[in-house]
Every structure is written in structure tokens, then in C-alpha cells.
Subunit: 466 residues, 2 copies
């Protein structure tokens, strides 16, 4: 007998069907046993009548979370028992036969509740059960819908998704890299990417013109509230464009995504307003102001572009200049001659644009420096000598000099965007297998010990003590 | 003036337009200078007439691979110059104005040729130029189309794409893991995933029922011809199914993909024929036979399912039993009692199915062991004691015991599939930023040295010498 999904049961009213799923709730009233069953599509109430002897025998052993296949008849509910706003509130399954497909231990926590008050370590250790919560099921399935929508949107606009390497080289100017010892070249290490920044620019050098990727990124940062050591970034880059073109493309995709998949959301203002960094700091004292007019409305979304950031800032440690956002960014065109002449350094503005949503930075990007001499000058202003520039960035300078078109792009912090869209307080609620704030996965036991043999093969040793 | 893509030029015949792109070829005939220009959409011939003085001055400096913006008039070609089968073979751009957007060094190799005869290290070092070859552009753009098609196909069938972690725990039974030292827990290591096998089964325990993912996988294997340390796998898993259901779902997606995106391909036989492992070995002497009838036809695709593999095989080293494919697979139902009683071990057949294409294994999967006692028995047959089973697989056994439905799935070796579809001799031709056979990335210089400071922070040390 073909399995019917629970959401489709009403189409089979009066007929015998087979469903598969979990025991959600059991209410044993002696002669009658009531169940709620659930599958990925929804829930339905079932009842074992006293005359269904075999079903009664099996049914009295069932516990919540057991996995069952149930044959039964779809009956309309009597008028007084109809629950209007509930899926299958007007039908009931008269259970004729139950087959136990798998038993289940009692969950370590209540799966019906919200779950946010439960100790995080415990939730993540039993994540396979924690993920059965309706709220998390919704978050993860909506995340899929958003991923697919964005992919199709960029593809329709001529962008190609291109995968870039995970085993890569160190990024000397970024945050701290995770590194991976090489066995074939003992003493050498790969680095895991903090972002595909260099690869996407190299793809522009290759002539692909319009690239995007949902990229997996990793940063070995100190634990800080709502950070994860790995995260997902919607990464895009395009050639022969100016700042307004990249901003317009991303604005189009993100607004259309919300209108399509979150029609209940109220976007405060479109087109998205643009504010300079100077104005944001003067008016709000922060570079990612929350401009919502009604912060009590959970459906209010206030987007804001922030532009015209200073290119350079003073490095507290070295007292020299460092970049404020991204060394690969170009200056605004009217500041190119200042850059090349290394003058008015504090006044040079970058083409950087940040996208702010309800006071969170959810994305950022820039038009890049496609002139190798100009990029080299950025590093000179930062105090690098020629040898260091060539060693760390030689491949990028050669690529820019090989026939690279003007280009620019953007990256969205995808976990944070999903968190805001789902009204969640932290990104762990929108990541299937999240880690603790300390970067641990208590379910898999990662990070963990490795065998001495492995370390020996890699030519590394753990330094004992402090 | 709005940029027109080169493929759309014929719609602007007689008009002035602006294009952007690369100098592909230059033929200077003194008074007339001819160019082929290219962008991501195609090529067009342009000519500078003697009266266009400024354009002539700029044009005489242009070299191949320079990036330009060109204003010109789209003229029909005289009848005798029309090239019928070529894009824009019936038009020519009369160049009025040229703006140089970026200069270009001379490429280290000919970009017009196939490129396969060039030293691999050189090609990969200058990959941003190598990728400009029409063949590689086609491969990478087609790869995008296939990725998108497969994603939409699984999504339409109710599957959700769910991202699983990259920083994970070691897989004691698989190939060699890449490991990542933890800074926050010195002396402990993450492992990079060889496949999301455990996570996708845990998602079935979570009740998601239909999962897929284009998963990035990494294995630290010895260099062997056509291997890459990182690769892409189309990974899927579904609940409440039998072997025939998973095979049918994958067969539907892959055949539809080829009919839609590769209509020129000739699929030898559908539905895909099924052969037992025993029959394959007897008839062909291999477990992935190439059953093509006409191996000279580059468009011939001969799919074959191979089934009924022995579950266990003798481990050459330990002389004990080991699994032939995947320890998480279930036996065929008629062998479950043999498994539970640990008898007739050499005769137990697994639910494993391999998908073979033109003699290459492009995918494989199985129905999993969803009964924790049965999975435990597999490890007992392999000689593991209770403590080792709990330490390595405790989380999986607990998950299976928490209410996990029957489930099964499959993974496709995506790089290999793309290689065959594109008629390429190795997977490096379908991976944008491939590594050498020795796992090196000569462009980024990976793997490479890291700073002593980094190693100190991680609490590890390089062991010198041998």
C-alpha cells in the first residue's frame, strides 16, 4: 500500500490509507487509545477503537518518538470535534493496523517546547532530537527555500555558481586562519578559507564576468557571543560594473527574496536608503544604525546601505596605516590620484558599501582595485616592502596585470540574514549542526584526540604543558 | 551608453553600441586594423577604418588580452565575407572609439589551443589565464548548469538541501582524514569530512525525511592519478524507503539531467540495467563493467546498476572481517538473521548499489542499518569490543535508538560525472581551481609555511628531519 503524506490525508476521506511517521503524543483512555502522528508534512490524530484487537495490543506498547507505519481509515470528525485552524482538524484516522519500524528512548528534553531555555551543550549533544522541534524544522526548511531562491535568482541574472577550494593558502591580512598540516609536504600547511575573496577576483581575471557561490568559510576567532567557527556566505562578484550596479543587483535579489518567501514582512523603505559613514556616525554614533521606526514589530525590516567609509585607519599596535575594510577595494574614483600620490591618506574614501538590516551588518562589498600599481600602493601605504608584497600578493598582482576587467562584488552573512528573517536570537537556531560558543560539537565529540600515528605521518607533535 | 553583450549585437544592426571585453586577436594591416573581441557571451570582429584617427592611435597599441570598452557601429558584412556558422559571422563592428580598461602581460601559454599538452604545474600556476580557454569556460559554465538543474530536481521532489559541518570529528573507519588543530583546546583536532555520511543519517533521525546537499569532501590519500584532495559529492538520503525507491529517485534525476542539458548524448539503455556483483565479476572480471557497445562514440553513455555485493570481506592485514563498502549499510532483508546470529558471514549480501557509467563508478549508496543492535553486530563481527564501539559510534547508536526511521541514500562523485559528460580525460579539467596530482596549488602556493607564532598558539610543533 502506497504511503500517503499526512498533509494529503484529507484528499483520501472515507478511504483506507497507509501513513509512516512518528508517535507525537499518546493518550491512553483504556478502551480508546488516541495518538497524534507526525511526518515531515504535518500531524494527524488517530484513534484505536476497541474492536481493532491487534492494533490495540501494539498500540498499548507505543511511546512518543517511536517510528511506525499505520494503516487506517480516514474518517470525517463529528461537527463538534472539528478544529478549524489545525491541519487535519476535520478528519481522524481510524487505526486498523500498526507496524513498529523502530523503537525510541525517551528524549532527554521536551521536544514540544521552544527549547531555548535548555542548556546549549545538552541541546547540541542530542541535536538529532533537538532538530525535531517544529521551530527548528521550520528554520532549516526555510533556509533551504532561501538558498534555492537566491541561487535561481542569481542564475537567472546570468551568474554562474563556481566552487572555490577549501584547502588553500594562508591569508596574511585577515583574521586567524584554521590550518591543516600537509602529509605529503611535511612542515607545510594548507589554510581553510576565511572567504573566497581572492578566488572570486581571480575568476574575474579568468573572464567569467558574473560569479556567485554559497561559500563555506572558517575563521579561528576567539569565542564571542554569537560567532561560529564556520559559517556560510553568499558570495558574488561581477565585471565591468560600478558601485551602483553591484548595489542594485544585490538589492533586487534580497528584496525579491523577502517579498516571495516572507510576504508577511514589512520592508520599511524601498529603494533601500543610502547613508554615508560620516552621517551614520554623526546621527547614530555607530556605522550600522538600526533605523526601524517600530522595534516592537517582529515583521519590520529596515534595510540601509552605508557608504563612503575611510579607506585607511590608524593601526593601534603599529601606529601605521591599515585598511578599514578590505585591502583589495578600490578608492572612490575621485581619490585615485591621492592614493597613487600617497597623500591625504586619512581623507581617502573607499568604494565599500555595507548592507545593514535592523542594526546588523548582513553584507558588504566594494569595487576592487583592478590596477596592479594601485593595489601595490595600498600595501606600500601600509608599510610593506616590495619583497613582502610580492611574497603575499604576487599572484594577485600578476593576475590583475594579465588582463583583469574592472570588477566588484559583495558577500552576505547568510546565517545572520536567516536569523533575522526567522526572528531568532542567535545564529545557532538556523544552523542544523551548530557548535557551542567555544567551538565544540558535543554530539560528534569534536575537536578530539587523534592517534599518535596520524601526528607522526604529518610530522607534527603536540607541545605539552604551557 | 549601455553595454551590449556581444551575443546580442546582431539585434543592433545599423546602430551605434558599446561593448566591453578582451582583445582576442589583432591583425594590423596598416591602414585597417582588425580585431576579434570577446566577452563571456561570445566573439565579434571589429575593424578600425583609416578615418577613425583617435581609435587608430589607441588601436595600434592594443595587444591580446587587453581589456577594452569599444564604441562602434554594427554593420552587416558584405555577402562574400559572411561566415555562416559563426556567432556574429554576418556582422562587423566599425570601431569609433576605444577605451583601455586594463593592460595585459603576454600569457605564458597559448590560450587558443586545447592546453592539454602544457605542463600541468604551469597551467595551474597561471590558472586565471588557463581558465580563459573556451573549453574550460564551457566546462565550468556547464558544471554550474548541472549543479542548478540537480538542485531544482531534488527540491521539486521534496528534498531539502541542508549544510553539514566542515569542522568535524575523525572517521575511524574511513580513509585518512585531514585534521585541523584546535587553538581553544590545545592538543585536540577537528577532522575535515570525507563525506557527510553520519550527518545525513542524523538528519534522518531528526525527521527531515528527504535531504540532499552538494557536499565538499576531503581525503588525505596518496597521490594516485586522477585524485584530488578535495572533491564534490552530490549527497542524498531519504526515509521510509527501500532499495528500489532510492535507485529509482536517483535514476530519474540523472536521466532527466542528461536529456535536458546534454540532448546530444545517447543513453544506451533505459531503465538503467541492473547486474549483480557476482554476474559482473563472472562476465567482465570487474565490479564496474564498461558495457558500451560502441566505445568510439563520444556521446554514448552506458549506465549500469551493480547490486548484491558481499557485506563483509577479509581484511588482508588483520585476517579478520571488514566491511566491503560501508559499515552503516544494512544487509539485504533476507540476510538480517544471519547477521544477527553472526553466521554465514561471507555469504551475507549488502543493500549496496553502485551506479556505473562507461566503466567508471559515479555513485553508490545503500539502505542503512536503522536498528542499533544490528549496527552494533556489524562492528562485533569486525572484532570491535563494546568500549571501542561506544567510543567511536556511540552517538550513531544512540541516534538510531532515539526513533530513527528506515532510511537509505546515495552519493554521486560529481567531478567524475562532469568529466564524463564533458568528455574530458581527467577531473582537473572540470574543477575551476584544481590541485596537482601531488595536492599542490602552485598559484596560491599551498600548502606553505606558517608563522611560528601560529604553531605556538595551536600548541603544536613541526618534527624536524626523519
Amino acid at each position: 500500500m502506497e504511503r500517503i503524506y499526512i498533509k494529503d490525508l484529507k484528499e483520501h476521506s472515507g478511504k483506507e490509507v497507509s501513513i509512516s511517521g512518528w508517535v507525537d503524543i499518546r493518550r491512553d483512555q483504556g478502551k480508546l487509545i488516541f495518538f497524534d502522528f507526525r511526518d515531515i508534512t504535518g500531524k494527524v490524530q488517530g484513534v484505536i477503537l476497541p474492536n481493532a484487537k491487534d492494533a490495540h495490543t501494539v498500540g498499548s506498547t507505543l511511546r512518543p518518538e517511536w517510528v511506525v507505519q499505520v494503516k487506517g481509515k480516514v474518517n470525517p470528525r463529528p461537527e463538534r470535534n472539528i478544529q478549524k485552524d489545525k491541519m487535519n482538524g476535520d478528519i481522524e484516522l481510524e487505526i486498523l493496523e500498526i507496524k513498529v519500524l523502530n523503537e525510541a528512548t525517551t528524549p532527554p528534553f521536551d521536544l514540544k517546547e521552544d527549547g531555548k531555555e535548555i542548556n546549549e551543550e545538552v541541546r547540541l549533544k542530542h541535536r538529532y532530537q533537538d532538530l525535531r522541534r517544529p521551530r527548528l524544522q521550520k528554520n532549516i526548511l526555510n533556509r533551504h527555500k532561501v538558498l534555492l531562491h537566491v541561487r535561481n535568482a542569481f542564475s537567472k541574472n546570468g551568474f554562474a555558481e563556481i566552487e572555490t577550494p577549501l584547502l588553500s593558502a594562508t591569508t596574511p591580512e585577515g583574521s586567524r586562519d584554521f590550518i591543516v598540516p600537509s602529509r605529503l609536504e611535511k612542515g607545510n600547511f594548507y589554510s581553510l578559507p576565511q572567504s573566497p575573496q581572492q578566488y572570486k577576483q581571480l575568476l574575474m581575471a579568468s573572464g567569467f564576468e558574473k560569479y556567485f557561490q554559497f561559500a563555506r568559510c572558517m575563521r579561528d576567532e576567539d569565542t564571542r557571543g554569537d560567532r561560529q567557527p564556520e559559517f556560510t556566505q553568499l558570495d558574488m562578484e561581477m565585471s565591468f560594473v560600478e558601485q551602483k550596479d553591484v548595489m542594485a543587483m544585490n538589492e533586487k535579489v534580497i528584496l525579491d527574496l523577502i517579498k516571495t518567501l516572507y510576504p508577511e514582512k514589512e520592508i520599511q523603505q524601498t529603494p533601500i536608503p543610502v547613508m554615508t559613514h560620516k552621517e551614520a556616525m554623526a546621527k547614530y554614533g555607530v556605522d550600522k544604525p538600526d533605523i526601524r521606526k517600530n522595534k516592537d514589530n517582529p515583521n519590520e525590516l529596515a534595510f540601509l546601505w552605508v557608504v563612503d567609509f575611510p579607506f585607511f585607519e590608524k593601526d593601534e599596535e603599529t601606529k601605521g596605516w591599515t585598511f578599514s575594510h578590505n585591502p583589495f577595494s578600490g578608492p572612490k574614483p575621485e581619490f585615485m590620484s591621492d592614493l597613487m600620490n600617497q597623500k591625504n591618506i586619512e581623507g581617502i574614501l573607499t568604494t565599500q558599501y555595507d548592507l545593514v538590516l535592523n542594526g546588523s551588518e548582513i553584507g558588504g562589498g566594494s569595487i576592487r582595485n583592478h590596477n596592479p600599481e594601485a593595489l601595490k600602493t595600498v600595501f606600500k601605504i601600509m608599510g610593506y616592502d616590495d619583497e613582502r608584497i610580492e611574497r603575499n600578493f604576487g599572484h594577485m598582482l600578476h593576475a590583475l596585470g594579465s588582463g583583469t576587467p574592472p570588477h566588484g562584488g559583495m558577500a552576505w552573512g547568510f546565517d545572520r540574514l536567516m536569523m533575522i528573517l526567522e526572528n531568532e536570537p542567535n545564529i545557532r537556531e538556523v544552523i542544523a549542526f551548530a557548535k557551542t560558543g567555544e567551538g565544540r560539537d558535543p554530539m560528534m565529540g569534536a575537536p578530539g584526540k587523534v592517534q599518535d600515528k596520524q601526528l607522526k605521518e604529518l610530522g607534527i607533535k603536540i607541545v605539552e604543558g604551557k
